[in-house]
Amino acid sequence: MVLSVAACSEHSVGPARTYDDFERKSRTSAAVALSSVETVRLLAETSSDGDAWGAYTNIGLSEQEDTLAEATGDFASIQPPDHRSDDLRAQLLELLDSAGDHIATVRIAARRGDLGSLEQVAAPLADDSVALQHFLDSIKR
């Protein structure tokens, strides 16, 4: 039972042996990033509307920042199997870094008590969201 549980890590950090493997891991990482980006956008919107208090918003933002950072770190540590994978890796890492930066900006503003304008601060995340969705659409299932 313990072995089964241990076998169930979502982002195993071993090398991807084929391009298809690498593409699958890229898709997982991009989906996690998209979820974090959209959660932060919804949190920012909710907070700006006065529908969430500071503690809830701060915890929610920190959780998503940590989730994205973990996904970025896990993906960056995966050994790409070939040169075709290098392009894919570079493309996705750029998207992940951009999303991470913008989420950090929202988190900083929230911790400074700037809840009313969080939606405005989170505006760049709309582009990150579109870019991640395009990335996911471009990868075959």
Binding site: C8, T28, S35, T39, Y56, I59, R141
Partner: protein, 410 residues
């Protein structure tokens, strides 16, 4: 009138006490990822828990002894030991998840990292187990759990296309973005969340704690037949809220804060406050139940005095087991392990151990030596319960392979 009020209170407590961390996480995650395509599993799970909870309550009321106490006697010490080991292990995972859930809910109002709150929560759970009466525990946390009805309010405020919502629930399919394996895996998680073993052990032992007799059989039936399905409806409201608000945004639920987000967005600050009270009550209540269940299963198997109805000095070993269980769960939670992942594993592994829990209940409920000749299961009930036993067996067989194939639902 007093009787009617008592029954009403019992039903409300059953509704509010139905949802725990497993239900919150499983239903929210499933709604965000599979829309309403797994709603049917909640219905199937609720029918199952209704059938078996009624049986275990009936056995306890007629024998004056809870089911687990009778398992070793009726099915032998080896089966009883297997049941004990499986139940205790899963109970510990569940208790860890519930304590973490309480800490997480408190962190959402305090901004304090939930890890710092775990020791405080563990102490509070132990203190309440130690000092608060059984009836008070049931009522307070069961009734506060009714705050989770705010999920239904959120769904109503979002203003969905009700025909589409109903159609999506009644015409399930595997979404294009998923595989049959992940669909089945999450189905098992939902099923495990609805039929978690500690619920029947607690329900059965609780019937003895409350001093139920044959006169309470009617109330047992009403609590179970009305309270649990309405509790299941709450689960569906949680699923619908994330389906309507999170799924269109491609948000997958990995954190407890995301479970509350649809309510905050749709109902506002007041809704957020109410839902966090509800989450706190549901997880704290479940932490109490799993703590007590840990004590019940060990003490009942070993023949020790047990129960809150006796003074702690009379049931010392029972209370020591509870203390050790709470301490162990807190230590495990403090390791930093993701509480949502622990919750997912606890409900999925629960599903793997379900036959061990429910098979003995069916055997004992059919044994006239325990329940009397007039109160054994009827043919219809036996037919339904037997079908469920087959379902439980298939679920148990499929659980671990699916967990490996899908890498824990990834």
């Amino acid at each position: 009138m007093k009787k009617v009020l008592g029954v009403a209170l019992g039903v409300l407590t059953a509704i509010g006490g139905f949802v725990d961390m497993g239900d919150l996480v499983a239903n929210a995650a499933t709604g965000a990822r599979f829309d309403m395509n797994l709603a049917w599993v909640v219905v199937v799970g609720v029918i199952g828990i209704v059938v078996y909870a009624e049986m275990s309550g009936r056995v306890a009321a007629l024998c004056g002894r809870p089911v687990f106490d009778l398992v070793r006697e009726r099915l032998g010490p080896r089966f009883g030991l297997a049941n004990l080991l499986a139940s205790f292990f899963i109970n510990m995972l569940t208790l860890t998840a519930e304590i973490a859930g309480v800490a997480l809910s408190l962190s959402l109002v305090s901004s304090v990292n939930y890890l710092f709150l775990i020791p405080f929560v563990a102490l509070l759970v132990w203190l309440v187990c130690w000092r608060m009466s059984f009836v008070m525990m049931e009522r307070v946390f069961g009734l506060l759990g009714l705050c989770l009805i705010v999920f239904a309010v959120a769904v109503w405020k979002i203003g969905p296309d009700w025909n589409q919502l109903l159609s999506g629930s009644t015409h399930p399919h595997v979404p294009h973005s998923e595989t049959l394996f992940t669909y089945a895996y999450f189905g098992i998680a939902l099923f495990g969340a609805a039929m978690t073993p500690y619920e029947v052990f607690f329900f059965s032992s609780g019937a003895v704690e409350d001093g139920w007799t044959s006169k309470d059989l009617g109330e047992n039936k009403i609590n179970v037949l009305v309270g649990f399905p309405l509790g299941g409806a709450l689960s569906l409201a949680i699923m619908a809220s994330t389906h309507l608000l999170l799924a269109p945004r491609h948000i997958s639920v990995d954190q407890l804060s995301q479970v509350a987000l649809p309510v905050a967005s749709a109902v506002g600050r007041l809704g957020l406050a109410v839902v966090i009270i509800g989450i706190f009550a549901a997880t704290f209540g479940a932490a109490l139940e799993t703590s007590l269940s840990a004590g019940y299963v060990v003490a009942q198997y070993l023949g020790w005095p047990w129960g809150k109805r006796d003074a702690p000095r009379t049931a010392t070993r029972f209370h020591v087991v509870i203390m050790i269980a709470i301490f162990g769960a807190a230590v495990f939670g403090l390791s930093g392990i993701d509480p949502v992942k622990v919750t997912e594993y606890s409900i999925v592994l629960s599903a793997a151990a379900l036959p061990l829990t429910y098979f003995p209940i069916l055997v004992i409920a059919n044994d006239a030596r325990y329940v009397g000749p007039d109160h054994t299961n009827g043919r219809f009930l036996n037919a339904v319960a037997s079908v469920y036993l087959i379902i439980l067996l298939l679920v148990a067989i499929a659980t671990i392979p699916l967990m490996i194939i899908t890498k824990g639902g990834a």
